[in-house]
């Protein structure tokens, strides 16, 4: 029974790895490729490590596999965020079918500055509505 479960975990983990690799080859864009590879590889590593832990059934192996799983779960989103941000700043071209790019109006590629669109629009509306309030703030 436990062998069956273990074989299933092994095959499922390898299958998700294969899906991640297929996605990284087939998808059209850096961001979509990251979306395939990060999630698929994290789930694949998790399933494979669960299979390893089921095979040995010792506390030491449990600790190590849980450590690997936690580490992958912690670092994969951080790495994906860092490389996605760097890729956007470098100026990779997005896929032609991209519907929405919310970073474009808030990022100045010349000065390499991001500004929070939310704060700006809120302040703009506030200034448009009441100048008195703004001047009062300035006095404070």
């Amino acid at each position: 029974m436990i062998e069956l479960l273990q074989g299933f975990l092994l095959l499922a983990g390898s299958f998700f790895m294969l899906i991640a690799a297929l996605g990284i080859v087939r998808l059209p864009d850096l961001l979509t490729r990251m979306h395939a590879s990060t999630k698929g590889a994290s789930l694949g590593v998790m399933l494979l490590m669960a299979g390893v832990a089921l095979h040995f059934l010792e506390e030491v192996v449990f600790a190590r596999t849980i450590a690997i799983t936690f580490f992958v779960l912690m670092t994969a989103p951080v790495a994906a965020h860092a490389i996605g941000r760097a890729g956007y700043f470098v100026g990779i071209e997005l896929w032609k079918g991209t519907v929405k790019d919310e970073l474009r109006p808030n990022y100045n590629p010349l000065s390499h500055r991001l500004h929070s669109g939310l704060k700006k629009t809120a302040r703009g509306q506030e200034a448009g509505k009441s100048h008195a309030h703004d001047s009062h703030k300035g006095e404070d």
């Binding site: 494979l48 690997i68 790495a79």
Partner: protein, 89 residues
């Protein structure tokens, strides 16, 4: 069980080949970095399966180190891409 281990080795090797294809033909550096990260994840998986095959639990430490190295390499490449040009700070 042995045949399942071999099958999962084969699937992982196939995904490594696909990942290597993206690594070679990736149009820009960030694509290649993403392919490298996926490659090291697949290597972690392969080390796990090899641990099963050889009944030697100390290979799991190697998997931990490979995962750590891949994270550091990715973050380093991201820093390099983002601030690779003229430093002005």
């Amino acid at each position: 069980m042995q045949i399942l281990i071999h099958l999962s080795f084969a699937i992982l090797a196939l995904s490594m080949v696909l990942c290597l294809a993206r690594l070679v033909m990736g149009p820009s550096l960030p694509d290649r970095v993403v392919a490298l990260e996926l490659l090291s994840m697949i290597i972690v998986g392969i080390i796990g399966v090899h641990t099963l095959q050889s009944d030697e639990t100390s290979f799991l430490d190697v998997a931990i180190v490979v995962a750590l190295m891949s994270f550091l390499a990715t973050v380093g490449f991201a820093r390099f891409l983002e601030r690779g040009g003229r430093r002005d700070d």
